[in-house]
């Protein structure tokens, strides 16, 4: 899959997004929420780059930043070497990056017929003319495995899986190169999500797409991804290739996350309740909020005095990048 370093598609450099909570009338800006904080990574062509983390770790904000749906506080995003700046109305860049949202029920306009939904991005980006809309959307529906007759239906006539296929068809209608998938199957049933995962893998192979796959389900990561990026509290904790990650991640948080996948071995839940598990005992504490030190300090099993005041940085360690002073060694 990897064609070397020269073919990087997306490169993110020290990207941050801060939200300000207004404490009172006069001391505003005091309450800073760092949704995405100093994040840097690279995505290569043809990769499935997956971002995992629990709720509120900033993964959706990151996807919005990549799409330009929200403004960034600092940092840069490069797309194939060019700075991505949506304010310049570079419509050809808009075409190349598309998103599939999590909830298929709220991401489609209920008042429009399917062919209008699917062809709108293509018409706006001048890929096709308006009179070809119907023909074009039929083609797109065939691509995602739906019947052509669906073009005259409304979204409420379709099931969840079919709607998610429509969202994918809409994203593909402008021939994107990078597709951001924001938890595409978490709202769907078992057998429907299996269909959709197969479709996504087929499209990935056929159209030579690059995916950024955002999820909280590590089983899907193992199934789909080439690289895993673990986020916590707006920061990247670890970036590693998928087989290395599942053989033993280096960051303490990644270990906790991996232990919590339920597919691994039967009957191990009570272990979590009894064995002095950190994530259970310190249920009320969470992300460390004051500005200095490691964000994962409060829950960490390997914390030392050094971690309170010094902030670790993402360091290369072979082909794995870890954001920790005391990472596990892979043999442990």
């Amino acid at each position: 899959m990897n064609n070397g370093k020269d073919s990087e598609v997306l490169s993110i450099n020290k990207l941050s997004k801060h939200y300000y909570g207004y404490g009172s009338l006069f001391n505003f800006k005091k309450n800073i929420i760092k949704a995405v904080d100093n994040v840097s990574f690279k995505v290569y062509k043809g990769d499935i780059f997956s971002i995992v983390g629990e709720t509120g770790c900033g993964k959706s904000t990151l996807s919005k930043l990549i799409l330009g749906l929200t403004s960034r506080s600092s940092g840069e995003i490069f797309y194939q070497g060019n700075i991505l700046n949506y304010n310049l109305r570079k419509s050809d860049l808009r075409k190349k990056i598309q998103i599939v949202f999590q909830d298929p029920y709220s991401s489609l306009n209920p008042k429009k017929k399917i062919y209008k939904i699917v062809s709108l991005p293509a018409i706006k980006n001048k890929t096709i003319k308006k009179k070809d809309a119907l023909q074009y959307s039929m083609q797109m529906l065939k691509k995602v495995g739906l019947d052509e007759n669906y073009v005259f239906k409304f979204p409420h006539e379709l099931s969840g899986g079919q709607r998610q296929r429509i969202s994918i068809a809409r994203s593909l209608s402008v021939n994107p190169e990078l597709l951001v998938l924001d938890e595409p199957v978490s709202a769907l049933d078992v057998s429907v999500s299996a269909q959709l995962l197969n479709l996504l893998l087929d499209l990935h192979e056929k159209n030579n797409l690059t995916y950024i796959f955002i999820t909280h389900d590590l089983r899907l990561v193992r199934h789909m991804a080439d690289k895993v990026c673990v986020m916590y509290g707006g920061k990247i904790m670890e970036i590693s290739p998928v087989d290395k990650f599942f053989n033993g991640p280096l960051h303490p948080y990644s270990r906790v996350l991996l232990e919590s996948i339920l597919a691994y071995g039967p009957k191990n839940i009570l272990q979590f309740a009894d064995a002095g598990n950190i994530s259970l005992n310190n249920i009320n504490t969470g992300i460390k909020k004051n500005s200095s030190g490691c964000v994962y300090y409060n829950l960490c099993s390997r914390r030392e005095v050094q971690c309170i005041n010094n902030e670790p940085e993402l360091k290369e360690n072979g082909d794995v990048q870890v954001n920790c002073f005391f990472p596990y060694y892979s043999s442990e």
């Binding site: 099931s159 078992v190 089983r219 899907l220 597919a263 039967p266 009957k267 839940i269």
Partner: protein
Amino acid sequence: MSLIIDDLTVKLYTDFKKKEFFNVADSVSFTIQNGEIMAVVGESGSGKSFLGLSLMRLNPPYISEISSGSILISDSGSSEKIDIVKLKENQLSGVRGRLISMIFQDPNVSLNPVIKIGDQIVEAILAHKKMKKKDACDIAIHYLELMRIDGKARFNSYPHELSGGMRQRVMIAMAMVLEPAVLVADEPTTALDVKTSLQVLALIEKMRFEKNVSVLFITHDLSIARNISDKTIVFYAGQIMEYGLTEDIITNPAHPYSISLTKSVPGLSRDYAPRERLFVIPGSLSQSDFKSGKCRFYNRCFKKTERCLTEIPLLKLSSGRFARCVNIQ
């Protein structure tokens, strides 16, 4: 034996005159021992939530009705068993919460947003037991702490001040506060995060050991069922398709539907490889499947033969293992 369900059939009417109907639960029988967790797995629309609601007689009135069968629960005080199906409407509120209680899927909508969580739990206690409000408060705080919530600090919180996982834990505390014999958990972790769902599952498991409660755990996720349950029912179109020990069903499924289900989840079947295309069950569950005289899985099955066109009984495979299929060797 704490919960015995025998030949339970629930009708769901499809017209106002109550002439047309289909059975959302069709002669369902199983028993759950004390301190046992039974998982019910199946696709959405297969009737598993309806089964859970029917156990508490919470199935929607006027459009549905328990037409036959019995739900027997042993009362803690006496040796006699109570049949929930035969109870009158005004007797039901004495049973719900005290003998059998339920955790719902979405904790965001199942708590009252304008009442403090402590008061909501105390209300449940005072409805069943005569005691001083102060003592009830102590019990409520004790149960919140069992759920690893700081009871004293959170007693006066409103639901919107809590996170999703905390709200679900409050729901479990509320369900467990009267020490019921049976707990029905209807997809309690679907709306939650991976880590919080693990905490909630661990707490249900803990309650099972400490309070010896029998749990009916409804889920669509086979890997959760594998982790938490002792026995599993594979439910499809209102019928039990396969029944047995969880580990047996997941590692060695017998019924074609169970085989299809385990193959459609990444990382569950034995011969799994990443990026391999997952097995997809063709077609979808439709209302007509509930009525037909043939095997209900017939239209979507990969093993179908002519023998499947008659009504198929639950066949015994080995001790404690049943499947509703004639094509198993």
